[in-house]
Amino acid sequence: MLAALCMQGLFAQHHGIFIVSYPVAFPMGDLSDYINKTSFRGINMEWGKEVKDNVIAEIETGWNVFYNREPDAVYKQGSASISGVQYRYTNSVPILAGAKWVLKSHNNLVPYAGLALGTMYSDRSTDFGLYRISTDAWQFCVRPELGITFKSRNGPSLLLGAKYYAAFNSNDLDGQSFFTVNLGVVFPYGL
């Protein structure tokens, strides 16, 4: 879609693109140790503008919710033991800036690749009995992505992509990384 617009020489007149997508998120690393369950709760949004031929500068944000109920179990530390049901939650909000490179295509399917840097806010909460233990952290994040758009005849295009949010360790939490598969819509605006 993006390459087609460039070829038509129309993109210079556009303000940019807005992408909203539904992410299915797979926890990785320390996040997977804490909540080893796929997240089907989330939303992702990106705003971009072409700065060079086939290169789009963009900013991104979103919200992914990871959740798991740990059944009744005993947790030991030294001579102490505590048992109960745990409800585990992690809310992740990436705030990134980067670029997308639109690859050449001769049909309606337009592949792209992207890279973004920024920060990710992660809020981890464990409900244990009547008590809640919470930790949150802002972590440096690098996000590569690959995807493909399907340009419709007029207006928005469909998008299918994959992203990997690589979050780095901070003082309070190890890096809360995860991988997403996104299904969304690309809206050009300023036409």
Binding site: R41, I43, W63, V74, G129
Partner: protein, 215 residues
């Protein structure tokens, strides 16, 4: 067409966001916690007899004031106390311990006690008093809960403490060591039979996660 699709997706996004809140506990028993700790240096295997009172102390405040002047603490009602004492007694016996009267020199003594806490949450908006002095100014707040709280809720939580003391030894400063302790915490809400059932299963859990008490 593009504009209508945008609005539709905007509405769908709201549904996506509203669906992002997972559920928490649905049943009262899911909020029960059982904590145990013990002295790893203590020789549990070498102890065989225990004593336990028939009453359970009810801890009502930070200081023991003896308001009724009977020189005794407050106790749980007998019906509730029997549930707790019998369940402890049953678990100790199953673990190979023998109950003896308190004056027959038991190796250990078990001391159960309970406390309850009422947790209240209320919301009060200072705006209700904005018409009066000093007026409705941004940044001013009426922080004293004056007229009426428009939103109030609360719950009662309870804790059961069980301490096992070594009757046969006393430290040089006169203190008696607690060799095994247990705290059971949960909502003190619901009917008596429901609470009793949860207390019994929690006591069973406390002994199940203390295999060093088994002979």
């Amino acid at each position: 067409m593009a504009i209508k699709l945008t609005r539709l997706l905007g509405i769908l996004s709201l549904f996506l966001i509203s669906g992002c809140y997972p559920k928490g506990a649905e049943y009262v028993e899911e909020l029960d916690l059982v904590y145990t700790n013990y002295d790893p240096q203590y020789d549990f295997a070498g102890k065989h007899t225990f004593a336990i009172p028939d009453s359970v102390i009810e801890i009502t405040g930070q200081a023991f004031e003896d308001p009724d002047g009977n020189h005794k603490p407050d106790f749980l009602p007998a019906a509730s106390a029997q549930v707790i004492v019998n369940q402890i007694r049953q678990n100790m016996t199953s673990n190979g311990w023998q109950e003896v009267p308190k004056l027959s020199n038991p190796d250990v003594i078990l001391l159960p006690s309970v406390s309850t806490t009422v947790n209240l949450y209320y919301y009060y908006d200072w705006w209700y008093w904005g018409w009066y002095y000093p007026g409705w100014y941004p940044g001013w707040g009426w922080y004293y809960p004056g007229y009426y709280p428009p939103y109030i809720t609360g719950y009662r939580s309870g804790s059961l403490f069980i301490q096992m003391i070594d009757h046969s030894s006393t430290a040089t400063d006169g203190t008696i060591g607690v060799k095994w302790s247990c705290i059971i915490n949960g909502l003190a809400e619901g009917g008596a039979s429901s609470i009793n059932s949860r207390v019994q299963s929690s006591i069973d859990k406390a002994f199940a996660q203390s295999p060093y008490l088994k002979h």
